[in-house]
Subunit: 349 residues, 2 copies
Amino acid sequence: MADDSANKKQPLLSGLADQNIGTVKKRRFRRCKTTPASDADFFGSYKGRELFPGSNSILRNFRPSFRQASLLLIIYLIVGCTCFYLVRDQIVGKKTNGILDALYFCIVTMTTVGYGDLVPESVPAKLLACAFVFSGMAFVALFLGKAADYLVEKQEVLLVKAVHLRRKVGTRQMMKEIEAKRVEYKFFTIVVALLVLVTLGTIILVKVEKLNIIDAFYCVCATITTLGYGDKSFSTTFGRVFAVFWILTSTICLAQFFLYLAEIQMEHRQQTLVKWVLTRRMTVVDLEAADLDDDGVVSAAEFVIYKLKEMGKINQEDVALVMEEFENLDVDQSGTISNSDLLLAQSVE
Amino acid sequence: MADDSANKKQPLLSGLADQNIGTVKKRRFRRCKTTPASDADFFGSYKGRELFPGSNSILRNFRPSFRQASLLLIIYLIVGCTCFYLVRDQIVGKKTNGILDALYFCIVTMTTVGYGDLVPESVPAKLLACAFVFSGMAFVALFLGKAADYLVEKQEVLLVKAVHLRRKVGTRQMMKEIEAKRVEYKFFTIVVALLVLVTLGTIILVKVEKLNIIDAFYCVCATITTLGYGDKSFSTTFGRVFAVFWILTSTICLAQFFLYLAEIQMEHRQQTLVKWVLTRRMTVVDLEAADLDDDGVVSAAEFVIYKLKEMGKINQEDVALVMEEFENLDVDQSGTISNSDLLLAQSVE
């Protein structure tokens, strides 16, 4: 069965025929065959078998769509607004318009800003606030953060496109650059967004809420960090209309900022590790450990698995799981899968 | 050079000699050689070459130690406490003891609870609060969360040990169980911790702050979510001493709770994907794409790489990076690394 293909020693070396052993080594595996055009999937033009190519692809693919998250947010706000509107007489503090106050209270609660300029007074209103702060936190943590990440990624592409407009580089190369420096670009995008939001918030607080510039900035800081002492807050009708949109965006922005900061930190550490793993000297013990099929030599694929394990990108459980499947597919038990194995497997079915 | 080892076809199949092709297939790669006792590193008894075995191992190894995080926290609190003590006359609200209030204000600010029972009044005090809330957030996000994760993992081991005390299972098997259900156990541990903290907080608020049970629970909810409306807060000396420890622990606990919830969600999705990748039918096109060294058949290692890529655990960049290193090591360009390659590489140096 597979024995004839196992005998084909020539193809393995065929690519090397024209190369000599020199001090400057050329690349032999110029384009690994196992990468079926992985750049293409950025534009959704990818129709192939390999559904999830990138390392973060699982995240990206399972991420709730922006539309889905918006819809959920609207439903959440409508429910919250209705509930708090119904108990509006049991909420005390500075009031403007009934519905606006309910919406504002809902936003201030779900983002955990909690100024305290409006506070629930009755038992039902208090329990309602408890329910909404927990569900709001879960909603922000599990949905809105991911939706924001998606938006930032879109913005990031626009940003890089704008930067590259003059230098005529191909889209493919541009996408490669984004892929390589994804986290850095995201971080940059979020910093810009934060600066815009902080400035906007300060201006509105000065112009509309008539605060002095220091108080306005202090209120902005207290809000975006969700601190919300409540000594300064939005008390006018227009201020609260603005606050509804601004609080939600700016608090999520700052949370994403810290997330990307942690990601950058992590990535730099991982790069250090990868460098260490790749440059350290291989020993005979390593060689023996990496030799998956016990043939006395380490093939390219075996080497890759061994090194990726050392880098912590995959673990033994992952490998064991796939190995089990491999043994099922290797019907003739030759230690390799060939076309005949596939045919055999189908005929068994 | 490596040609003699390439001719050794027998060793590849040697393990299969005693097996027949049957309907029930036995495992051939019983214990993959590339796993050098990965269970051992739980107890730090691991001294070997493979520094980072688990999938989260990079995280685990680079995580700041608990002692380091505690030290940083103490420094942060001393600095914060000193600063706020110095501006204590510029902070208005319910006051008890000078130093205690400064510490309490520092904790309420860094965790972004921000009751507003103590608020900065002067410009310097306001700017100081802004500085401390940002640095506090960064500190909690980048350090304390990870330290908490470390603590939870320790607790988790104790928990499983306690459960397994009666059934006499080996430590190794127990560790395997923890590894497999790591996130679930963490989640369970944090839920227990949260319940204890919520109960404790409610009791103290009833007994010390003389709140009724509903108000106490409402204040607990408003605090652990960092909402902090501030209509109910800690105003007695003993209440604030308790609050200093309790607020820090409970807010971090709730944040970890949501983190683990998201991790569980992610893991379940990944398991679905892994199942899909493993059960879908291999085609001739897959076979060709997976054949890394162009020898017409897919070896076990090649199959593992192809499938792990499909699962999104590794990507082409990872593989390409290691392949480059492989080519450097394969001095005789045989397509495999053998002992002679290693010797040759050393003699070149």
